[in-house]
């Protein structure tokens, strides 16, 4: 889809939301939008969207303001998810939180002393691009050995296929998805369990480092891959405890996100609710 097509479909969605509100006798007071990339929250300006090359340096808020005359707030998608989990989900009322999303990319949102922390250029939270192996494989971001290069969706599947070929060459799955990998792990498949342990180990190294640096109360884990459940969470908790320092390591809790597939929507709405006085 071209940039204009995406913009058109975005406007269409907003028009529908406005109509829906009207039908219910409600007034839509503000719009909240989460986008997958680096956004200047104050300007409503998109620097770039990781997987959509045509969206560089776009003043999205200005483009939408031409048509919609209500306050519009635009933030990074993982930031709005963190906001949603903090107000309505599993991080409710927590003080210092790291929200992690595991999907195509590996992202993070940070709550500091009860408030979303955006950083000095609104780009905080990019924990997928912390290095776990200094001479590791090249990552899309230009760095080497980033966490995302090991546990981004497609790298997990590549690694699983590699392990099947190595360990059980007589039954290499023809196609593989995370759902199949979850099911295999649940059914006792050793390769599948090993893959999740490896993912937990990679992620645990980064989270242990962040426990030492940021000393949070809570780490909330969401996104598609987090559905692996205990096959991911059990070894992950062990690695983080083992690799982090004693006081912060014993304090931190690691729990799954609560808002599921709606986290982005609920988060964007939360952004609009919480920001309304700021625009």
């Amino acid at each position: 889809m071209s940039r204009n097509e995406i913009l058109a479909s975005m406007k269409e969605g907003i028009r529908e939301a406005l109509k829906y509100a009207e039908k219910k006798g409600k007034l839509l007071q503000a719009l909240g939008i989460g986008v997958p990339g680096n956004v200047d929250f104050e300007k409503g300006f998109i620097y770039s969207l990781t997987n959509i090359p045509s969206w560089e340096n776009v003043f999205l808020r200005d483009l939408l303001k031409e048509e919609f005359k209500i306050p519009i707030f635009i933030d990074n998608d993982v930031n709005v998810m963190a906001l949603g989990e903090h107000v309505f989900g599993s991080a409710k009322h927590a003080r210092n939180v790291i929200c992690v999303t595991l999907g195509t990319g590996v992202g993070g949102g940070v709550i500091v002393e009860g408030t979303l922390y955006r950083g000095s250029t609104f780009s905080a939270g990019e924990l997928g691009h912390i290095v776990i192996q200094r001479d590791g494989p090249l990552c899309n971001c230009g760095n080497r050995g980033c966490l995302e290069r090991f546990i981004g969706n497609r790298y997990i599947l590549e690694r699983a296929l590699e392990l099947y070929r190595l360990k059980t060459p007589e039954r290499v799955p023809e196609s593989l998805t995370h759902e199949l990998l979850d099911k295999a792990a649940a059914a006792g498949d050793e390769v599948a369990r090993f893959v999740w342990e490896e993912v937990a180990n990679h992620l645990g190294i980064v989270l242990a480092g962040l426990v030492n640096f940021f000393n949070p109360d809570l780490i909330v884990i969401g996104g598609g891959i987090s559905k692996a459940g205990r096959f991911l969470f059990d070894p992950l908790k062990c690695v983080v405890k083992e690799r982090s320092m004693s006081v912060p390591g014993h304090h931190v809790q690691i729990i799954p996100a609560q808002l599921g597939v709606d986290a982005g929507l609920i988060g964007a709405a939360t952004l609009a609710m919480k920001s309304e006085t700021r625009e």
Copy 2:
């Protein structure tokens, strides 16, 4: 020195400060203390001091309150240095800052939105225990491949000797200090320059990760090793820029600390000044 000897010498120092103030016609209104370890700032309680085994679980403030009847504030030594640099040094008025100290250990202090960030159990900032090599050598903290395990004082010297033996076996220095290593680098010694480049590379990997995660305005670098000057700072800046994401990587500045050997003292005084209303 035993715990009681250290405590006695600490009290002696405070008595002297009180006398000095009296002589000057001033009133000492509060005490600020920085200690090398994990401290509960609110309770004035020391969990442990990294290199002084006899100081585990000590209510230091209570011990001092028996004799000194003024407000007493105790914090981690790198936290007070960060505070000092933020109020009087090179991080003056900056919003989001990471202060790094390079010495026997590698520590950090974090300023978030203009305020010292201590974390949920007062242990934030321990960036020396972020992993750069997942299967790396064992660190004192129990983890593997921590930054400190590569660029703590003694590991740098060990590595330099190893490299001299390898590259110029005919002239391996009999004893080596960081000052000698600095001088050698300044005189054009290739091994010495290579050592500083390696240190910059290790440190740069962690700082790039923190630029991505924390998105600071400023990274301030102090401690003994930082005196290596441009042999450390030039390659460090390159590595951080190369390995961090574009927007936060271009924004961040990396500069040396200003307060030098007095950073701890000035920081502890700043702690007392800034905390006075809180005890």
